[in-house]
């Protein structure tokens, strides 16, 4: 136990040092103060199993903890679990839980509470969007007050990684039962911070949990404030009304370099940005057209302009930091090839391919600008796209409709493989069992070979073997081109020098567990 704590502390300290290296020599942290993070969008819900987006998860993870945790360095360490053993057949998992932990409302965290949370996620009636994370679990039993046993229907390799996910967070059974639907607005977990208030569209406020089981936080209070406008968020950082600004427009980096009061840090992210096609409806049920668009877009130019070189052109549907990644291919920017494919499919300058392209604004780095770039780039190949900009919530609802009524032709989205495992990055997006609304496959992509490979990847334990399976699956996927493959983002975050120990996690989280304010 002590060793684990030491490990956590060492990792946290390393992270903090890396972040603050440019700012100041390490000094003793001081307690107290309120740290304010300027975030781009509001949380959608704070009920852990219902969360599907990073902004919500960032807020939630300060209050609600999972059994395990993915460190910024990509290691899985125990949180509310102490450790686990897996039976030789790979189907029975015995998880030992941390003892003496209480939820913020005083309810003890024990095996019953853990079972309650896992059962709740597994219950189809809960409609947890990420149920697939643990869907292979067939039963959860309480062995003793601090041990649970899970049985899966087959060996399920990514289970440990999935236990780090915020959706599998441990929440107070008392509060969940008592508050019902209202729970989503006032979560109760075991984390270093306690919920205080949520003013919709404005801010979420949390205070320090003085009964925290681990090393207690330094800050008295933490606020996540919603500032949707990129320019306004940067201005607030410059004026000092916030300590941290997420998604600084990359083109501003050069100008902000001279700032005395804050630094702009560029950190890795597990997020891939793509444009999905609905492959079940014309025109994009024709693979030639999907490939034509892939060839018509100069991804390098997008990365160098709107993203100012802070992103990486995709060469696979997942990013290199994900377990299971391998370099597959990139559709080369080739207008002649694009036009040849269009001609083959019966289109020409006189009869151009026309499509409607839906995209959000303010959710990803310069998303609307990138959508407009794509529109301008494909125009040179004689493709006419009509852009539809939508508000984040409405946009998700529109693209989330089931296949028979989903007439979205092209949509821009990003996916953060926050568990660090390829299963999460591929299964949810390309397996035919995960068509929206019960999964995240918004392209309605279905390829039996890919399905079989992804199933095998889940149930294979040997990592080298899994890597081979995923490489094969990704080759088929990229050849089928259900997406226009774009790039993987970096996180561009502005942090004031007074805010120390702020960690930018690759899963696109701002972590303030060990943050403190310099006076």
């Amino acid at each position: 136990m002590r060793r684990v704590l030491a490990l956590i502390a060492a990792i946290a300290l390393t992270g903090a040092l890396v972040i603050s290296a440019a700012a100041a020599p390490a000094v003793t942290p001081t307690r107290g103060g309120t740290l304010i993070v300027g975030s781009g969008v509001d949380a959608v819900t704070l009920d852990a199993p219902m969360i599907t987006d990073s902004p919500s998860a960032t807020v939630s993870e300060h209050m609600v903890e999972s059994l395990y945790r993915l460190t910024p360095e990509g290691k899985i360490i125990p949180m509310l679990a102490l450790g686990h053993t897996v039976s030789p057949d790979g189907r029975t998992w015995t998880v030992r839980l941390r003892t003496g932990v209480r939820f913020h409302d005083g309810t003890p965290f024990d095996a019953e509470a853990a079972k309650f949370n896992l059962d709740r996620m597994l219950d189809p009636a809960t409609r947890a969007p990420f149920r697939f994370l643990i869907s292979r679990v067939t039963s959860v039993t309480v062995v003793d007050s601090s041990t649970i046993r899970l049985v899966t229907d087959a060996p399920f390799a990514p289970l440990l990684a999935h236990f780090t996910h915020s959706s599998v967070g441990m929440q107070s059974p008392t509060a969940v039962r008592r508050l019902g639907v209202d729970y989503a607005r006032q979560p109760v977990g075991t984390g270093a911070f306690k919920f205080k208030e949520w003013v919709r569209g404005d801010r979420v406020v949390m205070t320090r949990n003085d009964d925290f089981w681990g090393e207690k936080a330094f800050l008295d209070e933490v606020q996540f404030r919603v500032i949707p406008d990129d320019g306004a968020r940067v201005a607030a950082l410059e004026a000092g009304s916030i300590h941290v600004a997420v998604r600084v427009p990359p083109r501003e980096i050069e100008r902000l370099k001279g700032a005395r009061d804050f630094t702009v840090s560029i950190d890795d992210s597990l997020r891939t940005i793509y444009v999905g096609f609905n492959v079940t409806r014309p025109p994009f049920n024709d693979v030639r057209l999907r490939r034509a668009l892939n060839h018509a877009v100069n991804k390098r130019a997008i990365v160098n302009s709107a993203l100012n070189g802070t992103a990486r052109v995709s060469d696979a549907p997942i990013v290199p930091a994900v377990e299971g990644y391998s370099k597959i291919m990139t559709y080369e920017w080739d207008l002649e090839r694009a036009e040849a494919l269009l001609r083959e499919a019966g289109y020409s300058r006189a009869r151009p391919l026309r499509a409607v392209f839906h995209h959000p604004s303010g959710r990803y780095i310069r998303d609307a600008e990138i959508a407009a770039s794509i529109q301008g780039l494909v125009r040179r190949a004689g493709i006419e796209l009509e852009l539809r900009t939508m508000e984040w919530g409405a946009y998700l609802a529109l693209t989330n409709r089931p296949q028979p009524e989903n007439d979205v032709q092209m949509y821009m989205l990003g996916w953060g493989t926050v568990t660090g495992d390829a299963d999460y990055g591929l299964y949810a997006l390309f397996h035919s069992s995960n068509w929206v609304p019960t999964g995240s496959n918004r392209s309605f992509y279905k390829n039996d070979r890919v399905d079989a490979l992804l199933d095998r990847g889940r149930t294979t334990v040997d990592q080298a073997e899994r890597n081979k399976i995923y490489a094969e699956a990704m080759r088929v996927i990229m050849d089928d081109a259900p997406w226009l493959f774009l790039h993987s983002e970096s996180q561009v975050t502005g942090i004031r020098h007074t805010a120390q120990g702020v960690v930018v996690h690759p899963a696109e989280r701002i972590e303030l567990f060990k943050a403190w304010l310099r006076r």
Binding site: S361, R379, E386
Partner: protein
């Protein structure tokens, strides 16, 4: 006579010059614009004004000058169509309401009171919310917003005209109400309608730009001044030119229409001069 009056008004002449520039930009955009306003050049995004691109380039590397010129064309279309809708519906409604009076007048006027009670831009936003986002919808919305302005104006004119002797005379020789309104009453309100329309085009352009700025109007990549401003404002510190020129274009055009409108009013009716 009117022209002599008008010529004396220097502000009016300035307005005329501004509007001529605006009109020629709008009418001859394809000839005047040095580049295709939609051709992107990502590598030179946000480039400052220089010899190749006199007003610089926007975030996608499109030529600002060409976009501002094409923006004039869009604004011109928006202004003219919105005002046509306002005149086309507002004038007949006002004339009938004022000429006949009675219960219909009362009902129409209360409806107009309700419409006027909302600030124009708010009403336009509500209408766009109902009609949907887009350029055509914006023209219709802004047009509808200007209906009560005309209806109220024309009704007032008709009320003062209908008791005049020439109207009585027309009625005495057996002219129908329709003929009296069309041939005798309306022509006498023409001057006010022209003055009002000049000013109304300015407000229509401004309202459309505001809606464009809010993302409710013209959709990308349309070269519309309001949406150009909205995109560029993200980079206001980095590339002030990308905000300045669409902003200037809106300002000068609206100023031009207002100066001209005032001058025409003064010329047509010297007594109203303040």
């Amino acid at each position: 006579m009117v022209w002599t009056q008008f010529r004396r008004n220097r502000a009016g002449l300035v307005g005329l010059v501004l509007l001529s520039a605006f009109l020629s930009a709008g009418l001859f955009a394809p000839v005047l614009a040095p580049y295709d306003p939609y051709e992107i050049e990502l590598e030179s995004g946000l480039k400052r004004p220089g010899p190749g691109h006199l007003l610089g380039q926007d975030e996608l590397g499109r030529d600002m000058l060409s976009r501002v010129i094409y923006g004039a064309r869009l604004s011109l279309v928006i202004g003219v169509i919105a005002v046509t809708i306002g005149v086309g519906i507002g004038v007949p409604v006002g004339a009938i309401s004022g000429y006949f009076g009675g219960l219909p007048d009362l009902l129409v006027q209360r409806l107009i009171d309700v419409m006027l009670a909302f600030p124009g831009i708010l009403l336009a936003i509500v209408l766009v919310a109902i009609l949907g986002v887009g350029l055509v919808q914006v023209m219709v919305a802004v047009g509808i917003v200007s209906i009560p302005v005309y209806a109220r104006l024309v009704r007032g004119q008709v009320l003062s005209l209908r008791g005049q002797e020439f109207v009585d005379a027309a009625r005495a020789v057996g002219a129908t109400s329709g003929r009296i309104i069309l041939r005798h009453v309306l022509p006498n309100t023409l001057a006010v309608i022209i003055v009002q329309s000049t000013l109304q085009i300015a407000s229509a352009i401004l309202a459309a730009a505001a809606l464009g700025f809010l993302g409710l109007g013209a959709q990308p990549p349309a070269a519309e001044w309001g949406s150009m401003l909205s995109n560029a404002r993200q980079y206001i510190r980095l590339a002030p030119h990308s905000v300045m020129f669409p902003g200037l274009a809106i300002m000068l055009t609206v100023l031009g229409f207002n100066l001209l409108g005032d001058a025409i009013r003064d010329a047509l009716d010297p007594r109203m001069r303040i």
